[in-house]
């Protein structure tokens, strides 16, 4: 019996888990190994007997040095961080209020409105950038961080609203009703009872929003023109790809360094994040 259980555990748990972990982490490993691989190895033939695609015996930091010295990567990193933080903050604030209203308040067409908000999230940025460019011009925000800070919420608010609306629905109404019987206003109950319980949901919405802002490309490409004001995804691609020449070492170093802040955010809040995705109050 014990042998059978161990066998099943390996087949149904460890083996799939191992495959999942390899599949998830391999891109990061590939970024890392390419970023520290010297140029002469990057150009080595795949068919060469000396080819070692999965490791290197001569690691180098030259690509990181080139990235930091020859481009304005630290500046791009700061721009991305600032824009992602502010647009996430704005989107979370709006998403919280809208999500709560759609989940709790009774008003005509509430369900339809919730669906409509989600549908706006599905409109691709490749269509939206043209009318948004017109708005950015009208408000003279072109080539400023505010062009992105104010356009990112167009897809972040619907996303946060939808995610938080679902989360609020999992919180029993009775908790809020008890507070109101005890004399709390709806706003007070929302702030003091519901929001503290919803912290995992708020954090997971925040993490998602932060990641979406961090990785956004098309708006950052269209609305920002000065090299020193670019974000990491646009800066790395526009400075390190020249026609058919790809500076792979520096590109991977940039991708690796660019993913560090997102990884840190995830690692700090992973427990809340998991709780946020799996529901609020356990019965």
């Amino acid at each position: 019996m014990v042998i059978e259980r161990r066998w099943k555990r390996w087949v149904y748990f460890y083996a799939p888990l191992t495959l999942f972990v390899i599949g998830t982490l391999f891109p990061f490993y590939w970024m890392f190994i390419t970023a520290i691989r010297p140029d002469h190895e990057l150009y080595r033939s795949w068919r060469a007997v000396t080819n070692t695609p999965f490791w290197t015996l001569q690691p180098t930091l030259a690509h990181f040095q080139d990235l930091l010295a020859r481009t304005t990567f630290p500046r791009w990193l700061w721009n991305t961080f600032f824009i992602a933080c502010v647009s996430t903050g704005i989107s979370l604030f709006c998403g919280l209020l809208a999500g709560y209203a759609l989940a709790r308040l009774r008003f005509p067409m509430a369900g339809t409105l919730g669906t409509a908000i989600f549908v706006t999230y599905l409109v691709p940025p490749t269509l939206l950038f043209i009318p948004l460019a017109d708005i950015i011009r009208t408000f003279q925000l072109g080539n400023t961080p505010w062009a992105l800070i104010l356009t990112y919420p167009t897809f972040l608010i619907p996303f946060c609203t939808w995610l938080l609306m679902g989360y609020f629905k999992t919180i029993p109404k009775e908790l809020e009703e008890c507070a109101r019987i005890d004399g709390a206003t709806r706003f007070g109950a929302m702030i003091r009872i519901i929001f503290p319980i919803a912290v995992p949901g708020i954090l997971s919405a925040g993490i998602f929003a932060f990641t979406l802002s961090w990785n956004e490309f098309i708006y950052a490409l269209i609305f920002i023109s000065s090299p020193e004001r670019k974000t990491v995804p646009v800066g790395v691609v526009s400075e390190l790809i020249r026609g058919d020449i790809y500076f792979w070492g520096q590109l991977m170093a940039g991708a690796l360094l660019g993913s560090v802040p997102v990884a840190l955010v995830y690692s700090f809040f992973v427990e809340y994040y998991v709780a946020g995705l799996t529901g609020s109050v356990k019965g």
């Binding site: 150009y43 950038f129 020449i245």
Partner: protein, 455 residues
């Protein structure tokens, strides 16, 4: 003690009037004489204080060319024009979204770099720059033939021809010698023989037939033209692709693919052949000069199998090879367009004049080392061509026969749609991959072209 500078003191009415007069006179003089007057006066024209001009170009394949423009060229232009000229460089594929957004919103860069026949796509949003173009053409020996169908719309130059980026077959001299070719094959049949022998030795020909902006179309269209094929008739309204010439070219491609090519090329992008060549995986490939230039720049890292610098074993051969009707390449024909929404259209034109002034253009031209050919024929005589490496010298006259897609009809927005949908490239890919027989692939392409040209 009064330490303030004269310009710190409040201006009197007289001073204001004098400055206003000078500004007006400067603008009037510049308007009357253009860049010639500005340069003759050795003084920057007095455009409104803080006037800015924004030009967007691609990331040049030669980083030194961009470096020169940013560090020397544009600062010098700023001084000459009396305005702050900002150069922004972005990836080739990112130019179209930027132009589209700028046109739709009516705001953005004053000048955009344009490729191929883009002036036809943005005709309603571009300023007529015929005055600049005609003057440069007259002074510098006339533009290459490809520019007229590319950049002239309705008899007006809507794009100012700037340069041509040629491509050629980069090949390993010693490897071709090993299979009996001391020079690169001159005909398609010779190429087939040579690459078949090389593939047997594990050194195939490398060519992408993927959806790439450069290497795949610049192979497919010249192959089509070389065998006598064409997208349409001369009117551009009747599809003529289903011809003996086209079928022969597709049959040839299918044979070359199986016998002599790296069959992984169906999934390659524009960078894969560079890497494969530098890694010694392929014996030859159609490319710009970037393979040679990178190999030379990294001569300590890129070595051949004998340990010698790889670039010493690289040469370039003219593409396409001799076919039934001639040799007509498809090169990047590049230009600049002044946007109609720009509030500084005159200044933008002056910048174009400044760029094309011989002594200014010469500096950029020399930094490019032959990778970018000038738009006019006179530059073929420039002394630079005798000084640069021999493999780069073949680009000197390479632009003479280049065509633009849409042939045999005019190059229009419809021909750009065909190009953007990779119909001609896919015709060859469908046959080479074995998905269709050559005749079926041509029939398929004919159907797709009719949806566009005859709709």
């Amino acid at each position: 003690m009064n330490t303030s500078k004269p310009e710190d003191t409040p201006l009197s009415h007289t001073q204001v009037a004098r400055r206003t007069f000078l500004k007006t006179a400067g603008v009037a003089a510049a308007a009357a004489t253009g860049i010639e007057g500005i340069l003759a006066a050795r003084r920057a024209p007095a455009f409104a204080q803080g006037t800015k001009l924004h030009i967007v170009r691609w990331n040049d394949f030669i980083p030194e060319a961009d470096a020169w423009l940013k560090k020397e060229g544009m600062p010098e232009a700023s001084k000459a024009l009396g305005a702050e000229v900002t150069l922004e460089t972005i990836g080739f594929n990112d130019l179209q979204p930027r132009i589209t957004a700028a046109v739709q919103s009516g705001a953005g860069a004053d000048i955009f770099m344009l490729y191929y026949n883009w002036p036809h796509l943005y005709a309603n949003s571009l300023v007529d720059v015929s005055d600049v173009a005609n003057a440069v053409a007259k002074e510098q020996g006339g533009f290459y033939g490809v520019f007229e169908p590319s950049m002239k719309v309705g008899g007006k130059w809507l794009g100012m021809p700037h340069s041509i980026v040629g491509n050629a077959i980069a090949y390993r001299k010693s490897w071709f010698k090993e299979v009996g070719f001391s020079e690169f094959p001159r005909t398609w049949d010779e190429l087939r023989k040579a690459t078949a022998a090389l593939k047997k030795k594990g050194k195939p020909y490398g060519q992408t037939l993927g959806h790439t902006f450069g290497d795949a179309p610049t192979w497919a269209y010249p192959l089509l033209w070389s065998f006598g094929g064409a997208e349409t008739d001369k009117s551009g309204k009747k599809v003529a692709v289903n011809s003996k010439g086209t079928v022969d070219s597709v049959k040839y491609m299918t044979a070359l693919w199986k016998e002599g090519s790296d069959e992984g090329g169906l999934a390659w992008d524009d960078s894969n052949n560079n890497r494969a060549f530098h890694a010694g995986d392929i014996s030859a490939t159609l490319n710009g000069a970037s393979i040679y230039i990178v190999a030379k720049r990294q001569k300590d890292k890129l070595k051949d199998e004998k340990g010698e610098p790889l670039y010493l074993d690289i040469d370039h051969a003219l593409f396409p090879l001799a076919g039934a009707v001639g040799q007509f390449p498809l090169y990047f024909s590049n230009g600049h367009g002044v946007m109609k929404y720009s509030k500084n259209q005159k200044l933008a034109k002056d910048l174009l004049r400044w760029i094309h002034k011989k002594e200014n253009f010469e500096k950029w031209f020399q930094v490019s080392e032959g990778y970018s050919v000038a738009p006019t024929t006179e530059w073929e005589k420039h002394a630079m061509w005798d000084k640069i490496d021999k493999p780069l010298q073949m680009f000197r006259t390479a632009a003479r026969k280049t065509r633009i897609f849409g042939y045999a009809g005019p190059s229009t927005a419809k021909s750009t749609e065909v190009y953007s949908k990779y119909i001609v490239v896919d015709m060859y890919a469908n046959a080479a991959s074995g998905k269709m027989k050559p005749e079926e692939a041509v029939k398929w392409a004919e159907g797709e072209l009719k949806k566009i040209y005859e709709a």
